[in-house]
């Protein structure tokens, strides 16, 4: 009898808790319109500089390399989420929170981070520079 009662209480608790837990977790946002964003016009950024912007609800960075081409990566440190800083003195990214460093390709140069920064696709249309969804991990 006690087991039946206990089981009943557990079922009622689950009935109450399940919707509460689902309510706490925010619904996923459709990324359709966000999957490609305009960042800046060509010719605005100097060589060896970076521009930060919001992409897929997270910080991202567009870098104009010394050879004039562009590259874009997620700026969210893969260690614990701080926004990494572009260091023009050595063409790498530094995370001020725990000291991780990433190459311009996104590859980890120094821990504690172990995963690379995801790389994004850069496309130039006329005089406008767009960044789109990740093509592959660096």
């Amino acid at each position: 009898m006690n087991r039946i009662l206990g089981g009943g209480v557990a079922i009622v608790a689950a009935y109450i808790l399940y919707p509460v837990i689902r309510f706490l977790s925010p619904p996923s946002v459709a990324l359709g319109e966000q999957s490609k964003v305009f960042v800046t016009d060509t010719g605005i950024m100097k060589r060896n500089t970076a521009k930060y912007f919001k992409f897929l609800d997270e910080p991202a960075v567009l870098v104009r390399l010394p050879n004039g081409t562009y590259t874009s990566l997620s700026a969210k440190c893969t260690h614990l989420g701080c926004t990494v800083q572009f260091r023009s003195d050595g063409d790498y990214f530094h995370c001020a929170c725990h000291g991780s460093e990433f190459a311009i390709t996104g590859k980890v140069m120094r821990g504690p981070a172990v995963l690379p920064l995801p790389k994004y696709q850069v496309s130039v249309s006329g005089e406008k520079i767009f960044v789109s969804v990740p093509i592959e991990p660096a």
């Binding site: 930060y52 989420g81 800083q85 530094h94 725990h98 504690p112």
Partner: protein, 345 residues
């Protein structure tokens, strides 16, 4: 008048048991009695935090567009706003320090031994709550430092297998720290954590009344005691007054500052580091892979929580050198990592 008032309640609730308890309650006196005052001081500081917190909530706006401005308004325009916020700021720092001292002193006096196991667990949970209060309150001014500290904090559980990402998502309320996170931290700081704190602190204080103050094993043969009413309470009040005086001195000499408003797109500034009480965690995360760092800290916290059940010798009122050394090792680790963090960042 006083007698009529007491008579009114006595007639309806029979206060004789309460009077008897107040008359009989005593506090042991020995060479370590000094540490008893930190429990009362923590309670006093919590009261101060509740009062100043309620006052600050009257002006605060939990929205990224206005959060920083509302705190700035309190600091610069509202009469005595700087004072109320500075008391809340320094009060939080003092509270963490006092609760840590209270915990380590009860640990080394082995006050967790039978029959006070549950009291110890409640105490450790209250320390966790105090740290949760500081963490959730930290984001509210919406400054660069508070933003990145919260980012690290909410991303830390994500390394845990299975539930980690889910916990981070619940704390963030979205894909990254933003408006939803601010609302959630505000709700936690002003509604959920206070409710939990009232519950746990009430139980903790209630049990301390049931069991009385624990006497260290080395002082077990001492039989001296003083009456709680009014002797110990008066001394307690003197400690509170002293604590308040030091707090107000800090408030007036070093009023709480307000860092620059965060631009969530820009990178974390160089030299960023958390408040002193999280520095040992920060340094551990810097020096070790996050799985090892968080795994070890979690394990140490769990051992700390159930130490009354592991330290069987203390429960039998025997010396337990191993657990004394364990506590000392934890303390030395925390202090040395904190110093390292100060020296290397």
């Amino acid at each position: 008048m006083k007698q009529r008032l007491v008579g009114f309640f006595d007639e309806r609730m029979d206060l004789s048991a309460l009077r008897r308890w107040a008359k009989e309650k005593s506090v042991p006196q020995h060479k370590h009695s000094f540490w008893y005052y930190f429990g009362g001081l923590a309670l006093f500081l919590i009261t101060l935090q509740i009062i100043t917190g309620i006052l600050l909530a009257l002006y605060y706006s939990p929205n990224p567009a206005y959060a920083h401005e509302s705190v700035k308004y309190v600091m610069e325009t509202v009469k005595y706003g700087w004072l109320i916020r500075s008391i809340h700021f320094w009060g939080a720092n003092f509270l963490v320090a006092v609760v840590f001292i209270h915990m380590f002193s009860t640990y080394f006096m082995k006050a967790y031994r039978k029959p006070r196991e549950v009291m110890w667990i409640l105490g450790v949970l209250i320390l966790g709550l105090v740290l949760a209060f500081t963490f959730t309150g930290y984001l509210l001014p919406w400054t660069t430092l508070s933003y990145f500290a919260t980012k690290v904090g909410v991303n830390t559980p994500s390394i845990m297998p299975i539930l980690g990402r889910f916990i981070t998502r619940i704390m963030e309320g979205g894909r990254d720290v933003g408006a939803a996170t601010l609302t959630r931290m505000f709700t936690l700081h002003t509604v959920i954590l206070p409710l939990l704190a009232v519950l746990l602190i009430t139980l903790h204080v209630l049990l301390s009344q049931v069991f009385g103050s624990s006497v260290p094993l080395s002082q077990a043969n001492k039989r001296e005691a003083i009456k709680f009413f009014p002797n110990f309470l008066m001394r307690d009040a003197a400690v509170w007054a002293g604590g308040l005086a030091i707090l107000l001195a800090m408030v007036t000499m070093f009023p709480a500052g307000l860092g620059p408003k965060v631009n969530p797109v820009m990178p974390a500034p160089v030299g960023i580091k958390p408040e002193w009480y999280f520095l040992f965690v920060f340094e551990t995360l810097r020096r070790f892979p996050e799985t090892i760092a968080i795994g070890t800290i979690t394990l140490a916290v769990l051992v700390w929580l159930i130490v009354p059940f592991l330290d069987r010798r203390a429960s039998r009122n025997q010396k337990s050198t191993f657990f004394t050394l364990f506590g000392a090792a934890v303390l030395v680790y925390m202090i040395s990592m904190t110093i390292l963090a100060y020296l290397t960042t």
